[in-house]
């Protein structure tokens, strides 16, 4: 099964290249951080907001945009569609776990999708953003780990909600609810530094910060290497827990699919 992965990554990449037009639309839908940037810049025009000046907001939201693209997943829609249409049957007949298949194809499409973020990064650097990111090579190494685990978390949450389509017609409604919480609690619309207590403590025990904010914080050098390592540990715990729940739900779902037919 592992031997299949390089070929699958190559074909997934080729597919992503073939989907260029769709991808432009997709990228445009990820521009929310730029809107937030304009908003917070205006707020910070008269002076820094809790330590965030205009340049800090710019660095934060540009990084948020890039990170969000790099950790994107879409398996929730794919699963929902295939389960409802009965198309999942064909996947279940292949000697490869459908979720592994989705994950590989998802991962393969990310380089192409992230390529759209390159101009944003280049402009950001040209405008002096280079001074605002960490210069510690160890931290950068950890950023790679943080990004990968953040993607795994996002994929697993989506796989979980997608799998619920085995049981529940309107499981996508649940995903809307999750996205609302995500937007507020992940640092997508405001740096989590600005969130007051007791909300900050609540956010800390939720998964969202580890899906988006933590990699941004590490890239901008707002957390130390020790704190980054600790965040990696929390991410690993989330990944393990989510993986277990996804697998149990998946097994129950396939059993139900097998009982009622697809």
């Amino acid at each position: 099964m592992i031997r299949a992965i390089p070929t699958m990554l190559r074909i997934g990449f080729a597919e992503a290249v073939a989907y260029r037009a769709e991808m432009v639309v997709w990228v445009l839908s990820y521009t929310m951080p730029l809107v937030m940037l304009a908003l917070w810049s205006a707020v910070a025009a008269d002076g820094p907001v809790q330590g965030y000046g205009q340049a800090d907001f710019a660095a934060y939201f540009v990084t948020a945009l890039v990170v969000r693209m790099m950790v994107a997943a879409w398996v929730v829609w794919e699963l929902n569609f295939e389960i409802k249409q009965g198309r999942l049957a064909a996947r279940l007949l292949r000697p490869m776990h459908p979720l592994l298949h989705f994950a590989t194809m998802n991962l393969a499409a990310l380089p192409m999708r992230t390529a759209f973020a390159i101009p944003v990064v280049v402009i950001g650097f040209a405008l002096g953003g280079a001074d605002l990111v960490t210069h510690d090579p160890v931290q950068w190494l950890l950023v790679v780990v943080l990004l990968f685990l953040a993607w795994v978390m996002t994929f697993l949450v989506q796989a979980l909600v997608g799998t619920l389509a085995f049981f529940w017609e309107s499981s996508l409604a649940l995903f809307d609810l999750y996205m609302t919480a995500y937007v507020v609690c992940s640092g997508y619309v405001m740096p989590l530094d600005l969130v007051p207590e007791p909300f900050a403590s609540v956010i800390d025990v939720l998964p969202f910060r580890y899906q988006l904010s933590v990699p941004i914080e590490a890239i901008l050098g707002r957390i130390t290497v020790a704190e980054t390592l600790q965040a990696v540990g929390v991410q690993l715990a989330w990944v393990a827990g989510l993986f277990l729940v996804v697998m149990l739900t998946w097994r129950a779902g396939v059993r139900r699919f097998a009982a009622f037919g697809g």
Binding site: R3, P6, I11, L93, P95, G261
Partner: protein, 329 residues
């Protein structure tokens, strides 16, 4: 290769009357009906057999096929396919079988079919040498030379189906389940697909199990017929035996050199099914066949004469209506 004994699949279906009140009540107490989709089916299928699985809509064909491929778990009974229990869906079994449906496609839409072949090679872990050999064999047989490099979305439906078949056979399945494989194809394409399936069965001793409403598919591909009706097997045997059993009478198709009146046909043994001035179709009991042919040749200006069995459509319509009548008695 396939062993099925006392296979049963019952569904519990939630029933409620229409209306708001009934919807509200159903929240608290649900009523279930049991649907006996497959109700005690047994058969054996050997290596290299070609089976036609027939029955009216809702007879339990697809349910049985899904249980054979492991997509549905039986309520009770035994199934093994190539020595495996399908519901465990272990990878060795999945490498030995393939389900091809005429309606659902697995080809990657925006990439050429050759990429789907590659993907299947990887997923099924086919050795490269064997993969090359299989592709080299399939491409000329199905005439795919110009197609496999073209993005799937630019192919016609028939071209896609041919590529679909090839993609399904990359791992050389030992058991091939075909569900309406020629649906929506033109006549030439249909016969290419049928010919190809027979050839695959011959070359690889693969077991082929077909369900189709197209009787030409069935006569071209299947040598043995299993008829399933309301969850039970109502016939299992050779195609000829089915026709023999249901409609033992033969049909004599006559073409005349000059117009022949109906009164002259009436003198022949048997029953006149169709008549035109220069043509006639008679239905004759086996015992009277020699006499009918001899007398037609002697008394009428016969230009051509053919003897054939009853068409499968008629045989099946007859079979289904008889079993339905037996049940209602």
């Amino acid at each position: 290769m396939i062993h099925v004994r006392d296979l049963v699949k019952h569904y519990r279906v939630h029933r409620r009357a229409p209306g708001f009140g009934a919807a509200l009540r159903s929240v608290f107490s649900r009523k279930f009906d049991t649907v006996r989709a497959v109700d005690g089916v047994s058969f054996e299928i050997g290596e290299g057999d070609r089976i036609g699985f027939l029955g009216p809509n809702g007879a339990g064909k697809t349910t049985t096929l899904k249980m054979l491929s492991g997509l549905l778990h039986p309520t009770s009974g035994e199934v093994t396919v190539a020595g495996h229990v399908p519901k465990d869906r272990d990878h060795e079994l999945l490498r030995a079988i393939m389900l091809v449906t005429g309606q659902k496609q697995q080809l990657l839409w925006d990439l050429p079919p050759s990429e789907t072949f590659e993907l299947n090679r990887a997923i099924y872990d086919v050795p490269r040498a064997q993969f090359r050999q299989t592709v080299d064999e399939l491409v000329p047989l199905l005439g795919l030379e110009k197609l496999i490099g073209t993005p799937t979305r630019q192919l016609s439906m028939g071209e896609r189906m041919k590529c679909e078949l090839a993609a399904a056979l990359i791992h050389r399945p030992k058991v091939l389940f075909l569900d309406e494989p020629t649906i929506g194809l033109d006549v030439t394409m249909q016969s290419t697909v049928r010919e190809f399936i027979r050839g695959y069965n011959r070359r690889h001793r693969a077991t082929v199990i077909l369900t189709s409403h197209d009787m030409d598919d069935v006569t071209a591909i299947a040598e043995r017929i299993i008829v399933i009706d309301r969850g039970k097997i109502s016939f299992d045997g050779a195609l000829d035996a089915l026709i023999e059993k249901m409609q033992p009478e033969k049909r004599v198709r006559l073409t005349f050199a000059e117009p022949v009146g109906e009164e002259r046909l009436a003198a022949l043994p048997g029953r006149v099914l169709e008549t035109e001035p220069r043509r006639a179709l008679l239905q004759v009991a086996q015992a009277d066949l020699r006499r009918a042919v001899a007398s037609a040749l002697e008394t009428l200006p016969v230009a051509d004469l053919e003897v054939e069995g009853a068409p499968l459509e008629d045989v099946l319509a007859d079979l289904f209506s008889r079993t339905a009548a037996e049940r209602s008695e």
